[in-house]
């Protein structure tokens, strides 16, 4: 309702009312995991709220200090469990910068393909669950239908559906199998059609528009102060995408657009993410077309496992293999912060090397964790139903928040 937008929720009501503190979570159907919100309600209006996090704190950063570099990769994947390829890329990229290793072009393109597929996957999970929060239950099934196809592709190339451990320091662990390209092409041909179908179901639905338009607005300047990045920031009209601004992988060679919103409400967030799916499909298509021939992993035996075929014939390879598997490689002391654009914003990885074969400190700047600070601004003085929608549109992954 138009009047619903303009009604001054921030003004205190005429009648004397009592504030009710209600505890949402850690188990609640709409908190996308185990987030706990302590909410002060005045009738149906949220007056104050405080997120309480840490319910899936896993101590991953500490565990990483106890493992050699190449064993850290499966740990970091399990932080933000719907964008696992991004964690791998952030960590591998950081270590590659530490040891000054250039990855071959084919590995760059393969990484881009999987990163963008993962971005689509992440946005699909977001769309399904958020629509579920809104009450549009069927969207979950439609989104997960496409998600299964992405997971099939992952499984085909890597052997696992989730947490694939596909990226290695120096490249990727295996080349894509025969038939992968054909399957991927079929998928990227279908995906824009599917996005059109999602739009048909949601964008032409008056109820959905009423629920999302004009809710959860946070101005751009405030978002920047709070360190918010990713689709949330872009929906507020700030075209900040690290794929464009920073030079990593082969993104500078790709032709893609940055979708930007205008108002910064929940509807813009939804539109920006849907548009990003389409742009990701374009990136996948271009990198598939331009996929160069050549090795998929760097040829530096100090850091990269020798190919399996060399082991029976080459003594040197065997020694390298043995050293790498038992001890790992040592990294000269130094520290590196490497950030990439994950589906939720800036995903930074800080690795501190102390000269041994294990990292002295691995820290992830997880976008969900930082973005969650903006939730209070999004939800205070709105209805409790809008708070739920805003939380869905914020798209926090609690595994990433708590690490």
């Amino acid at each position: 309702m138009a009047d619903g937008l303009s009604s001054p929720l921030s003004a205190p009501p005429a009648v004397e009312t009592e504030v009710m503190t209600i505890n949402i979570g850690p188990h609640h159907p709409a908190t996308h995991g185990v987030l706990r919100l302590v909410v002060d309600l005045e009738g149906e209006v949220v007056r104050d709220l405080k997120p309480v996090i840490g319910y899936v704190h896993t101590g991953i950063e500490k565990s990483c200090e106890d493992k050699s570099y190449w064993k850290v990769i499966p740990f970091v994947e399990r932080m933000d469990y719907v964008s696992f390829f991004f964690q791998m890329e952030a960590f591998c990229g950081a270590v590659e910068r530490l040891v000054d290793l250039e990855i071959p072009p084919r590995a760059k393109y393969l990484r881009m393909i999987f990163l963008e597929l993962n971005r689509i996957h992440s946005h699909l999970v977001w769309l399904g669950t958020t629509a579920l929060d809104l009450g549009a239950i069927s969207m979950l099934w439609y989104c997960f239908r496409e998600r299964e196809r992405i997971l099939d592709l992952f499984e085909m190339a890597t052997g696992q559906r989730m947490h694939t451990r596909y990226f290695q320091v120096g490249g990727v662990i295996e080349d894509i199998p025969v038939g992968f390209e054909e399957k991927l092409r079929k998928f990227i041909a279908d995906m824009p059609v599917r996005v059109g179908q999602y739009e048909a179901l949601l964008d032409r639905n008056e109820v959905f528009l009423q629920r999302t338009k004009g809710t959860g607005i946070v101005p751009r300047e405030r978002l920047l102060e709070l360190g918010v990045t990713g689709p949330l920031l872009r929906a507020a009209g700030e075209p900040w995408d690290m794929r464009k601004t920073f030079d990593y992988l082969a993104y500078p060679e790709m032709d893609f657009k940055i979708p930007v919103g205008t108002v910064g409400d929940n509807y813009d967030r939804y539109r920006v993410r849907l548009a990003e799916i389409v742009e990701s499909v374009r990136i996948v298509e271009q990198s598939l077309d331009a996929l160069p021939e050549g090795p998929f992993i760097a040829d530096d035996r100090k850091y990269v496992l020798p190919p399996r075929s060399e082991l029976p014939t080459s003594m040197e390879s065997l020694i390298h293999h043995f050293k790498l598997v038992t001890e790992g490689y040592r990294v000269a002391p130094g520290e590196v912060y490497y950030a990439i654009e994950s589906p939720r914003g800036e995903l930074g990885c800080f690795v501190l090397a102390d000269g041994s074969a294990k990292p002295a400190r691995v820290h992830f700047r997880d976008p969900s964790f930082i973005n969650l600070q903006a939730f209070k601004d999004m939800a205070v003085d709105t209805y409790v139903a809008d708070m739920i929608v805003s939380l869905g549109m914020l798209d926090p992954i609690l595994g990433g928040v708590d690490r």
């Binding site: 850690p26 188990h27 609640h28 159907p29 995991g33 185990v34 840490g54 319910y55 899936v56 704190h57 896993t58 101590g59 991953i60 500490k62 565990s63 106890d66 499966p74 740990f75 399990r78 469990y81 719907v82 999970v125 399904g128 669950t129 979950l140 099934w141 997960f144 239908r145 299964e148 559906r161 989730m162 947490h163 609690l398 595994g399 708590d402």
Partner: protein, 216 residues
């Protein structure tokens, strides 16, 4: 047919006679049938708690396992209930941190008897790869678990397989002796020293009705 055979056998043995025998046979047959019936309905109408912890939640009951390709609804278990009072089964999908463990135990306590728990994935079964200060090394430490599903994360097919295992367990194959072993009889109120857990009046009534029907 069967009770006639039984009666014939006992008559031959001479253990029971006349009216007493009649009653004995009827009771035996009806009670086991009723138990079977109840277990059948429990196994086929599991409402899972729509509850997710970490990675496995994406592959497990709240999400992938209910989606079109796997469709746990075929087994009548898609009606995820958000309130633990209405749920029959809790799936621990992911690592249980030391901060979350009391909450999970509380959720389990709030569920009404009979209730079942599945521990999905390596993390909640044993701590998995996260052997560190923050993760509880196996959910069995604070609550009874019926079925453990291995994997990190398990595929949805594995979840379905674990679920059918649980169904078989409920239907008495194997029997439920583990409950006595864990002393997992009651809810939180029971643990505080309230009245012992008794079958609901509705259950008693249904039981009586079934007995009457069987007599007639």
């Amino acid at each position: 047919m069967r009770d006639r055979q039984l009666r014939a056998r006992d008559m031959l043995r001479g253990d029971l006679e006349g009216e007493e025998l009649e009653r004995y046979v009827e009771e035996k047959v009806v009670v086991t049938r009723f138990e079977e019936m109840l277990n059948w309905s429990r196994a086929n109408s599991m409402f899972p708690l729509s509850f997710g912890l970490a990675c496995c939640a994406i592959e497990g009951i709240p999400m992938s396992a209910v989606t079109a390709r796997y469709d746990i609804a075929r087994f009548g278990a898609e009606a995820g209930r958000a309130s633990p009072r209405q749920a029959d089964m809790i799936i621990l999908s992911g690592r249980v941190s030391i901060k979350m463990a009391p909450v999970v135990r509380r959720l389990y306590d709030q569920m009404l008897e009979p209730k079942w728990a599945i521990s999905m994935g390596a993390c909640s079964s044993s701590g998995g790869m996260f052997s560190n200060y923050a993760v509880v090394q196996g959910a069995d430490k604070f609550m009874p678990i019926d079925v453990h599903i291995p994997g990190c994360p398990p595929r949805p097919e594995a979840v379905l397989y674990g679920f059918t295992k649980l169904q078989r367990k409920i239907m008495g194959n194997p029997d439920q002796g583990w409950r006595q072993r864990y002393n997992a009889a009651g809810t939180e109120e029971w643990a505080r020293g309230g009245p012992a857990s008794t079958p609901s009046p509705e259950a008693v009534e249904a039981y009586e009705v079934a007995r009457e029907l069987a007599r007639a």
